[in-house]
């Protein structure tokens, strides 16, 4: 392993991976480090999976600019990187006359931000488009450019394409400090040794404030961890085919009820600031909050058909807008600070961060160019990341062909989501090899169905162990000390 690079990206979330993908078209050596056992383990894999139209951010902020710039980039991005994306539009639903006035304000904001195609529809039209909507609805704001995606697929696809074009990824590698030569960054220290680099990109998500402070940048900037809890409903029980937002409040976009690309309905998030940035637990109060929020949009929704609970931590920052005329205090930070050389500083990237990621990546390239970096195009650059086969998404003819070629694709391991042994093994040999149960789960959607892994778990542990040629006792849920098993039984000891 070499230890000298042109650019090191700290953090392999969707922003870090997208930055690496954008930089990888130039003749530079890129290293992405990630402290967790897998990429995308922070907010990138625990969010609402929405590509926002851009009506929500305050006009004049970086959030608004990045959102509206990025939104039209997604069709090409999805085509090149082969991840699931569906521009099905979204609704902000008013449930009383006061909220109807709020929709007007939101529409004006959308026009200021430059969001195309939005208009207000009547309550009758809303009921027609979503028959399960709250019958008290007074109208809705329709945003045709909103979309949904599989955010983890987006992250992994960007990372794999960066690797295809020469980037290196190191997992379980935690940033500790910068190595400085006077006012110039010349490398970083990690738990796996030192790495030299001309540039460092801070894409550390919820920890980006701590990273920039190590370089003496923006000591007043602080990220609070704002937990968003979610629950997923069984698609056999209830399906909502639309993306439904409540009218936003000062706490954010509110608890939405939305379709996922996997056909399930998802409810969430709430937004509660917590002292521990890594506390991704779910709470009783939170679930009650989700229940109330969901009932506002879809009163018939029965949370008894919940099949999964999760939460994500959003990086709620306190950076004021750089735009002098705009009063807003939790904007994105996308900058090359003057006080230190060699740092590209990103911070406070919460919603609409997923949507904005490709525009942020482009902005990083532009800022580096402005700072004098002479990018030279790679001689061969492949923008395409091929998708791997997903048995359940194929028609019968394709399934027969695939199983004939590789019979492991005929063996279903996850009964609810129909994920096959072939898919699991393919992910174990992908550019970023899946080595844990959760890594397999995020990539294949296995274990996310109504039995929540009860059927597949022993089988996946067995496959992981056999393929890696280790004991099942060593297999973990998510790295670290998260082993599933603690020992062997007395009968096996006897053998």
């Amino acid at each position: 392993m070499k230890n000298e690079y042109d650019v090191i990206v700290i953090g392999a979330g969707v922003v870090g991976c997208m930055v690496a993908r954008w930089l990888a078209r130039y003749q530079i050596n890129i290293l992405v480090i990630e402290k967790e056992a897998d990429i995308g383990m922070g907010a990138s894999s625990a969010n609402s999976a929405i590509v926002h139209a851009g009506y929500d951010p305050v006009p004049g902020t970086l959030k608004a600019e990045m959102n509206v710039t990025a939104n039209p980039m997604w069709d090409t991005l999805a085509g090149e990187l082969n991840f699931g994306f569906d521009r099905r539009g979204d609704y902000v639903v008013a449930v009383n006359n006061g909220e109807l006035l709020d929709l007007e304000k939101l529409l004006q904001q959308a026009q200021k931000n430059g969001v195309p195609g939005m208009h207000i529809i009547t309550s009758a039209e809303m009921k027609h488009r979503e028959p399960k909507i709250n019958p008290d609805t007074t109208g809705a704001l329709w945003a045709p450019t909103g979309g949904i995606c599989d955010p983890f697929q987006v992250t992994i696809a960007a990372a794999e394409n960066a690797i295809e074009n020469g980037a290196t990824f190191l997992l379980e590698t935690a940033f500790q400090d910068f190595i400085l030569d006077g006012k110039k960054i010349i490398g970083i220290k990690t738990n796996h040794g030192d790495f030299k680099s001309r540039w460092v990109v801070n894409a550390a998500g919820i920890h980006s404030d701590e990273v920039m402070h190590k370089a003496g940048v923006r000591p007043e900037f602080k990220i609070q961890a704002r937990r968003g809890e979610y629950l997923i409903l069984d698609r056999a029980e209830l399906t909502i085919n639309n993306v439904l937002f409540p009218v936003p409040s000062e706490k954010g976009k509110g608890i939405l009820v939305t379709a996922t690309l996997h056909g399930n309905t998802i409810v969430g998030p709430n937004a509660n600031v917590l002292p521990d940035k890594e506390d991704r637990s779910v709470s009783r109060d939170g679930m009650d909050e989700l229940q109330q929020g969901a009932a506002r949009l879809v009163p018939s929704l029965n949370l008894r058909s919940t099949i999964a609970l999760f939460s994500g931590m959003r990086a709620y920052g306190n950076a004021p807008s750089e735009n002098p005329g705009v009063k807003y205090n939790s904007d994105f930070i996308i900058e090359i600070p003057k006080s230190v050389k060699g740092l590209v500083n990103l911070g406070g990237i919460e919603s609409p961060g997923l949507t904005a990621a490709p525009a942020i990546a482009q902005r990083v390239v532009d800022l580096m160019k402005d700072a004098g970096e002479k990018f030279v195009d790679r001689k061969v650059w492949c923008p395409i990341r091929p998708a791997r086969p997903h048995f359940r998404e194929m028609n019968q003819e394709e399934q027969i062909k695939l199983v004939k070629k590789d019979p492991r694709y005929g063996r279903i391991i996850c009964r609810c989501e129909n994920v096959t042994e072939g898919e699991i093994i393919a992910e174990m040999h992908a550019p970023i090899p899946a080595r844990t149960y959760d890594a397999i789960k995020r990539r294949t959607w296995l274990g996310t169905g109504r039995c929540l892994g009860g059927f597949d778990m022993p089988r996946v542990v067995d496959i992981l162990a056999k393929e890696m040629k280790v004991s099942p006792l060593e297999i973990t849920k998510k790295g670290g000390s998260s082993q599933f098993l603690t020992g062997i039984t007395k009968i096996q000891e006897g053998n």
Binding site: S281, P407, L452, I488
Partner: protein, 425 residues
């Protein structure tokens, strides 16, 4: 083994219900009976139930699960029931077409004259009881833990708390204690035991394992692996009572919080589900609302004794065989009308031969191309002419009518198809 494309009875699942259904289907005259099993061996969940308590009703013997299953497996195989294992059914249509897939069997497309659904049930999960807290390794359903211990020989933990006083949970409490693990406590949210009293006595009382009624898990604690759980007492509306929280250090939480009949496939086939049992609405033959689709065992409702599952399997297998035989008889009576030379289509599409014994049958058809000369409209059984009629001309715009006379019954009764053709005289 090569599978046929049509079976009299296809049984989905080889647990006690499925095995019993396949056996009686065969005994009641079904010739081709197939079991499709998703696991690598026959027997279903019985294979991991190595404790006693099976067969007291049927065999007057107290057997462990695998031995109970083996008796039925032997019977089924010796009767000539075909089996395909390691194969998952993906879809069933209301017309009883079955799609399945397996590593060695490939993608299967099978037509069944009758189907017995015997998919059993699955365990409720953490999400369904909405347990708060972190999401570490070490939270398992009791059945998943049972598979690890009894089938694969692995221990899923050292220090356990069990939520739910269901039978699997109590049986696992004893099993884990045998293996040297410590079971700290069994918590039950209801003010009463939900499993069998005999299991409470034999699995908990005899091993000094404490059962706390009206208690539940308030939250799960631990980042990578479970480090503890917080228990709490609940009132009669299941609301936690503040001040009653207690931290119980443990590395594993087992859930034994109920079973749900597994009917996702049934729903795909159009089977109506009773929201109370979570299983199909069935009649006394265990037939569902979809003709020819039967259901047996825990897929219908959760039984407390395996012997009753077997009995239900016997009854549904017999009904399925009878249905399949009636279907077969119909298929022999019904023959297709095939379009031959210069015929685009014929209505009706099929013919019930027996109705020809009672009177003439009118067939109507259209030709493909006009013929402005006299033509024969012919009905043939293979090469053999059954009857024919002369037309001065035929045109696609003018429907051709042909009456198959009652007197042709003797010719038609042995035919497997009738071909209609329009031929120049």
């Amino acid at each position: 083994m090569t599978l046929k494309s049509i079976y009299d009875v296809v049984v989905i699942g080889s647990g006690p219900g499925g095995l019993a259904a396949a056996i009686t289907a065969k005994k009641n005259g079904a010739e081709d009976v197939l079991i499709i099993e998703r696991d690598v061996e026959l027997g279903g969940i019985l294979l991991q139930c190595i404790h006693n308590g099976f067969g007291v009703e049927i065999f007057k013997q107290d057997l462990p699960g695998p031995s109970y299953a083996q008796r039925f497996i032997n019977d089924a195989l010796s009767l000539g029931v075909e089996v395909v294992t390691d194969t998952m059914v993906l879809d069933i249509t209301p017309q009883r077409r079955i799609f399945a897939t397996g590593k060695s069997s490939g993608v299967l497309d099978i037509q069944a004259r009758a189907i017995v659904l015997a998919m059993g049930c699955r365990e409720k999960t953490r999400a369904q009881v909405r347990l708060p807290g972190t999401r570490p390794a070490g939270v398992y359903t009791a059945g998943t833990a049972q598979r690890w211990v009894n089938v694969e020989g692995f221990m899923p933990g050292k220090k356990f708390t069990i939520l739910g006083s269901g039978d699997i949970g109590m049986i696992m409490a004893r099993r884990l204690t045998f293996e040297g693990a410590k079971v700290e406590r069994v918590l039950e949210v209801m003010p009463f035991l939900t499993g069998l009293m005999r299991n409470y006595v034999q699995c908990l009382l005899d091993y000094d394992i404490q059962l706390q009624l009206s208690h539940t898990v308030n939250r799960i604690i631990g980042k990578d692996r479970v480090e503890a759980i917080e228990s709490v007492q609940v009132d009669n509306k299941w609301n936690p009572i503040p001040g009653t929280e207690e931290i119980i250090p443990c590395d594993t939480l087992l859930l034994s919080v109920g079973l749900i009949p597994e009917n996702e496939l049934s729903k795909k086939a159009g089977v109506r589900i009773d929201p109370l049992t979570n299983g199909p609405f069935v009649d006394n033959h265990f037939e569902t609302n979809v003709p020819g689709i039967f259901a047996a065992g825990n897929v219908v409702h959760v039984y407390d004794l395996v012997d009753w599952v077997t009995e239900a399997g016997f009854a549904s297998g017999k009904s399925a065989a009878e249905f399949a035989l009636r279907e077969k008889a119909k298929e022999i009576r019904h023959i297709p009308l095939k379009a031959g030379e210069n015929v685009r289509y014929i209505v009706p599409h099929t013919l019930d031969k027996e109705s020809l014994a009672e009177g003439d049958i009118r067939l109507q058809m259209r030709v493909k191309v006009p013929v402005e000369d006299p033509v024969w409209v012919e009905a043939r059984n293979g090469d053999k002419l059954i009857s024919r009629k002369l037309e001065r001309y035929v045109r696609p715009g003018e429907m051709v009518t042909f009456v198959l006379a009652q007197k042709t019954y003797d010719e038609v009764k042995n035919a497997s198809a009738i071909t209609m053709s329009v031929i120049k005289k």
